[in-house]
Amino acid sequence: MTKINYITHDNQTHTIDVQNGLTVMEGAVQNDIPGIDADCGGGMACATCHVYVNEEWLDKLPTKEDGEEDMLDMAFEPKQNSRLSCQLTVSNELDGLVVNIPSKQV
């Protein structure tokens, strides 16, 4: 189990034990963390699992695949530290990861 910190838009931190191999998106959806819609179910076909990753974690994440940046163009208020949480697979290296959930997805 790996600890992932989800900070919702109202500034509440939800620290969740997520099984390695699941994605950050799945960790949120399975634990009813508000603010991650994941309409397409993890297929990188929408941008509704958009999160802002805390700067110190950016280098530790898997690099973006081609389609992710294209989808992020369609996200709500994308920034340089934007990622799609369905593309972030949880592993020991991500223990303590902090992601901020935007005020809305659509």
């Binding site: 179910g41 076909a45 709500f76």
Partner: protein, 338 residues
């Protein structure tokens, strides 16, 4: 009022194939979709991207899949009502009356919701003050390009719509193209063309910039954009166009009294009927234990929902199970009987 056995909401692959299954068992239907063409997410999100998990089709694009499905339902002459969204639903004795945004009215025995993840709407600027200029100075689609002639237009986005309109409007207008990063998701040839036009001074390209503020009274006078490193630029503009793709919203369906769980409609797995008799839900929009959001699951769900519709359309008849290979009735309906 259009009288049919079934109304299908959503012209994606699941909705189209359900129309086929209805046709095979002799039920009539029409299809409503908010988009301007059939195909749903396949056409809107990934027309050129290959799909590898359609049974017996090793590889096809979203567009090919749609074309083939439309070909497959041709014998049934199914009418599509595009650019229309279903707004109102009313039960009248044993039938359903449905009204669309285009004021079309249907009288049907049952309804199949194949609405994917909702109807597609353009994504708008996150900036609150943009709302009051929407429709006057800010647009998310273009109906009449002549209004932009000899004006200054600021286009936001990096996909095909943004690039194509930047190129097109640069012939008659002063065009600024603003995108949040250096890369573009639009076609490479369009990206090259935009860069050429930028070099020639026909388009002003600003990358790694996003909108910061807009100002003006009734119409926009100027906008401010902000670079990733914090630097601001302000310039005069007459119109602002935003092309950020489409988002999906369930819309009025949410108010129909259906059991909804996590933005999906709960159904049984016997015939994909919802908690309301005569209303079925199939494809990405439905949920049940073990639901997979695959096109092939949508086909299966559509086949069963079509049979579920039968008892509402023809309460006095019994549906007999038949194969298209051998059924004379099915072959007649397909127009292939020799």
């Amino acid at each position: 009022m259009i009288k049919k056995d079934v109304l299908i909401i959503g012209a994606g692959p699941t909705g189209i194939f359900c129309a086929h299954q209805l046709g095979i068992i002799g039920l009539s239907c029409e299809i409503v979709d908010n988009l301007d063409k059939a195909g749903g997410q396949c056409i809107e999100l990934y027309p050129d991207k290959p799909i590898y998990d359609i049974p017996a089709v090793p590889e096809c694009t979203g567009e090919e899949l749609t074309t083939n499905l439309l070909q497959q339902i041709k014998p049934f002459n199914v009418k599509f009502h595009l650019n229309e969204r279903v707004e109102e639903l009313k039960k009248v004795e044993t039938r359903w009356h449905v009204k669309t945004s285009g004021k079309q009215e249907f009288d049907v025995a049952s309804i199949v919701i194949a609405g994917g993840v909702g109807s597609f709407e353009p994504r708008k600027f996150a900036l609150k003050e943009c709302e009051k200029f929407e429709g006057s100075s800010i647009f998310y689609s273009i109906k009449d390009k002549t209004v932009f002639k000899d004006k200054t237009i600021s286009i936001f986005g990096g996909g095909d719509s943004a690039l194509d309109w930047a190129i097109e409007l640069s012939n008659t207008s002063k065009v600024n193209l603003i995108h949040r990063r250096d890369g573009f998701s639009g076609a490479e040839s369009s990206v090259q063309k935009v860069k050429e036009l930028n070099d020639k001074g026909k388009i002003n390209l600003y990358t790694k910039y996003q909108i910061d503020s807009v100002s003006g009274e009734n119409n926009i006078k100027s906008i401010k954009i902000k670079h990733d490193d914090g630097e601001n630029k302000e310039f005069k503009t007459d119109y602002v166009l935003g092309f950020f793709g489409l988002i999906m919203q369930l819309g009025p369906i949410l108010d129909w009294g259906l059991n909804i769980s996590k933005k999906s409609i709960e159904v049984n797995t016997e015939n994909f009927e919802t908690n309301i008799d005569g209303i079925f839900a199939i494809g990405d929009i439905c949920t049940y234990p073990g639901k997979l959001k695959l096109i092939l699951s949508g086909f299966h769900e559509g086949a069963l929902a079509a049979r579920g519709c039968f008892k509402y359309a023809k309460p006095d008849e019994k549906l007999r199970f038949e194969f298209t290979t051998t059924s004379k009735a099915a072959q007649e309906r397909l127009g292939v009987k020799k």
